[in-house]
């Protein structure tokens, strides 16, 4: 038995050391390497090579799917990243927990290119614009198929029109669905008042029977394939969708909507801040923004390419923007509340 134990212990040692040191070969030239943590496929891959050529850094890109998947990785520092991409409310959460480093904008001259109309929204989740630099932004609105919808589309209310039963695609995400109800009822989309959340849930349940499907990425594909008449979708999908189906139109409802911003930020634990700053500066460059815009078709808040974005929905007027809100971090209790009601809504 003793023998067995010794062997087991020896193997345990091997196990942990293998797990601990495997893949650690890149550590030696840490100063030359930049670790980027970003949403999948969120910038033109050519730009990575261009950046490497221009600056001499080696770039390692890691991808995640949702902010919530990225959060524990940054929080536990389970992998070391120098620069990350995150959405508005997640920037707020990370910075409030001290997980982000203040960006030294002296080293980022291209910050002057950041469009002015996005600044109030950044101030909203990152007061003083200390921790983040915007990468992309957009709004939510209704995309509809002209050949299937004859009523004028200008309000979220059309989603409740029984005429379009089984023709409507809703976003499969908690906050965006509640945003619609909040706008109709005149509440803030960041409310944590349980009565208001309950009222919004009831309103959404009324509409649930009309929903064809809940979809995020797939919504545009459903619309392109003429399988539904309307979809709540982000403005970034408009150029792409219109390219394949000319009957599609996009409207920002008059009740106002959500403005979202995805930003670059530097984690407090970043090892290579210099490279991270160089990366952010590079991403804010006018011609880089142009490349990204053509690749992603998501709006990029860069003054240099303002003329390029001729699609009005991608660059909403000040009037429209005045009626918009940004998501805030609600804290664990607020998140739990929404999650609970969302599950009830889905189960109903």
């Amino acid at each position: 038995m003793k023998k067995l134990l010794t062997v087991a212990l020896a193997l345990l040692l091997c196990f942990t050391s293998l797990a601990a040191c495997g893949g650690g070969d890149g550590k030696a030239d840490a100063e030359k390497t930049l670790y980027v943590y970003c949403f999948g496929d969120y910038f033109d891959p050519e730009l990575q090579y261009q950046f490497e050529e221009e600056t001499g850094y080696k770039v390692v890109v890691d991808l995640f799917d949702t902010n919530e998947e990225m959060y524990p990785v940054i929080k536990n520092n389970s992998a070391d990243y120098d620069v990350i991409c995150a959405s508005d409310y997640m920037i707020e959460r990370l910075s409030s927990e001290g997980l982000l480093a203040e960006i030294n904008f002296d080293n980022i001259p291209n910050a002057a290119n950041i469009a002015d109309n996005i600044k109030p929204f950044i101030e909203d989740f990152d007061p003083g614009m200390k921790y983040s630099a915007p990468h992309t932004w957009g709004t939510y609105g209704i995309m509809y198929n002209k050949s299937m919808v004859d009523d004028p589309v200008d309000s979220w209310e059309i989603l409740w029109d029984e005429k379009y039963a089984d023709q409507i695609v809703m976003p499969n995400s908690i906050r965006e669905c509640y945003m619609i109800a909040a706008r109709l009822l005149g509440y803030s989309m960041n409310t944590v008042d349980e009565n208001q959340i309950k009222e919004m849930t009831d309103l959404l349940i009324e509409q649930k029977d009309l929903v064809y499907s809940f979809a995020n990425d797939n919504a545009r594909e459903i619309m392109i394939g003429d399988s539904a008449a309307m979809a709540v979708i982000t403005s970034g999908e408009v150029i792409y969708s219109k390219e394949y189906n000319e009957n599609l139109e996009f409207v920002i409802p008059k009740e106002g909507t959500e403005v979202w911003t995805d930003c670059w930020a530097i984690p407090a634990a970043a090892k290579n801040v210099k490279a991270a700053e160089a990366w952010i500066n590079f991403m804010l460059d006018g011609s880089v923004a142009e490349t990204n815009f053509e690749y992603l078709t998501y709006a990029i808040p860069n003054k240099e390419i303002a003329d390029l974005v001729d699609e009005p929905v991608l660059n909403p007027s000040a009037e429209v923007l005045a009626n918009c809100e940004t998501l805030h971090n609600l804290g664990a209790e607020g998140d739990d509340l929404y999650s609970e009601y969302w599950k009830m809504y889905k189960a109903d």
Partner: protein, 259 residues
């Protein structure tokens, strides 16, 4: 009559299994980025795929992780079978029961529980952690493929070899191994396939810079999957198809020769 009925049945099942695969293959030649409109025949996604370093790195990672995970789990699994088959009934049932746990666990639970444990013991996530995780969930498949062969094995031949003066290693390689070889091969292949196809567990246990094809696909779901990945999958599929056909023909010829 009966024969045509059987033929139709087989055809329908094949159609069911391969229709989605055929669809993806066709879409990989679509000129547009969308899945829902045919824009025209094009090879642009294949060109872009080869030029994309991220995809090529992911491909390399996928293959190397699958190879090492399958190899390690095959060695560990075969050793385990040897050990287990020498045990008495009670510990054997217990171990086979434990062996089933990773199979019965939801992927997401396995993935998250491994991540939480790595973090709890201060092991930062990297290539090694992904490999460990993959070995962990591959072992059961190997054991389940090899164990039945051990049970069919005449235990006495091994003992006899030892009695006749063979070292245990010699006896194993000359007597036991040839008999359990089919089990080992199918266990290895199954482990390899499972490792390649997995995404949830990889997703939660990988560290900086480790992408596999599955995690790449999953992370692109947010902005829409680029047809490059259909092209890549099509190529992998066709490659495996050809390899398997060649292996099949060779083993078939061998069998004919032997008989």
């Amino acid at each position: 009559m009966k024969k045509t009925f059987k033929g139709i049945y087989l055809f329908l099942i094949m159609l069911f299994l391969y229709l989605p695969i055929f669809t993806l293959m066709v879409l990989s030649f679509n000129g547009g980025k969308t899945m829902n409109a045919w824009v025209g025949f094009s090879l642009e996604w294949y060109e872009e795929m080869f030029a994309n370093r991220q995809i090529m790195e992911a491909l390399g990672n996928t293959v190397s992780i699958a190879f090492w995970a399958a190899s390690a789990s095959t060695v560990i699994g075969v050793l385990a079978c040897m050990g287990i088959s020498a045990m008495k009934e009670k510990p054997r049932t217990l171990l086979m029961g434990l062996n089933n746990i990773p199979l019965l666990n939801a992927d997401i639970v396995t993935g998250i529980s491994l991540m939480l444990s790595f973090l709890m013991f201060g092991i930062s996530l990297n290539y090694g952690t992904v490999l460990m995780a993959h070995i962990t969930f591959c072992i059961p498949y190997v054991i389940l493929s090899v164990m039945p062969k051990f049970r069919q094995l005449e235990n006495h031949t091994y003992e006899a070899a030892l009695d006749l003066g063979a070292t245990p290693a010699y006896a194993f390689f000359k007597v036991v191994l040839p008999d359990i070889m089919p089990g080992i091969v199918s266990g290895f292949l199954l482990a390899f396939t499972m490792s390649v196809d997995d995404f949830v567990i990889t997703h939660f246990t990988r560290g900086a810079g480790i992408n596999t094809i599955s995690t790449l696909i999953y992370s692109q779901v947010r902005v829409g999957i680029r047809p490059m990945l259909y092209a890549l999958s099509t190529l992998i599929f066709v490659t495996v198809f050809i390899i398997l056909i060649v292996v099949n023909i060779i083993s078939h010829k061998k069998e004919e020769k032997e008989s």
